[in-house]
């Protein structure tokens, strides 16, 4: 699923990494728990989360996650933005809940990790 399509479905905007708008993502994972995100073996997935802090960006950096949607209207801070740019991440912000965002993407064909 293309990042631009995800934006459309989730009423989301790209906060950084515009150049990835045409990138294709196969799988998604929803969690507010970075402890769990760190245990995943899947690369190149979309992280859907309401945990909006610097450690979300760090965790993604370590786990080779390139795409994050922040749900529940959470706003990315300047500090997060700087670290995300440094690591070439693509960040989206959506006003939907974690449940709604996940449901929509699942229904539209984004695959789960397991």
């Amino acid at each position: 699923m293309q990042v631009s399509k995800i934006c459309q479905l989730l009423d989301a905007k790209i906060i950084c990494g515009e150049e990835h708008a045409q990138a294709n993502i196969e799988r998604g994972y929803s969690s507010d728990l970075m402890s769990d995100v760190l245990t995943l073996d899947t690369d190149h997935l979309l992280l859907i989360t309401g945990m909006c802090n610097l450690q979300t960006i760090r965790t993604s950096e370590m786990a080779d996650i390139r795409f994050i949607v922040f749900v529940r209207n959470k706003k990315v801070t300047d500090e997060m933005l700087e670290l995300a740019r440094e690591n070439n991440l693509c960040l989206l912000e959506s006003p939907f809940t974690l449940f709604k965002a996940s449901g929509i993407l699942y229904q539209a064909g984004l695959k789960p990790v397991y």
């Binding site: 728990l33 970075m34 402890s35 760190l38 690369d43 760090r58 950096e61 370590m62 786990a63 500090e79």
Partner: protein, 136 residues
């Protein structure tokens, strides 16, 4: 090649700094991406553990051809029962740590999964030393 970093207990915005530097170095050396991921995930878990559970710490990284050894040495409360701490789901993390998205009790088990050798030594009231080795 040897590298050394400091870790500050409680400072979540600095957590991951060392892991990030190590990741950059491993990338420059052209090491396989999956190996890099295992090494830095384990190191990051260890780094976050010092931030979350201890007072201060040091990370020592030693690179050899086809082998990396990382040691995380902290001053802190120590781990009274290492076997128990290794179990998935066991955590003494504070509310603050949980609010940061950690404290599920998955870290030590994940470090074991991502390393070829893991040794933990701890003295209650003094601190903990975690040694990890990966071959590539």
């Amino acid at each position: 090649m040897k590298l050394e970093f400091n870790i500050e207990g409680g400072n979540f915005s600095w957590a991951g700094h060392a892991s990030s530097e190590v990741k950059k170095m491993l990338k420059q050396l052209g090491i396989d991406a999956r190996c890099i991921k295992s090494i830095v995930i384990a190191l990051y878990e260890g780094e976050v553990n010092v931030v979350a559970h201890a007072y201060e710490g040091r990370i020592l990284v030693q690179m050899e051809p086809h082998k990396i050894t990382t040691e995380i040495i902290d001053k802190g409360p120590g781990i009274p029962d290492i076997e128990l701490a290794m179990q998935e789901g066991y955590s003494t993390a504070s509310k603050e740590v949980r609010e940061m998205g950690f404290g599920a009790g998955m870290g030590l088990a994940n470090m074991k999964k991502n390393t070829d050798e893991l040794t933990i030594e701890s003295t209650v009231g003094q601190g903990t030393t975690v040694k990890m080795v990966n071959y590539f």
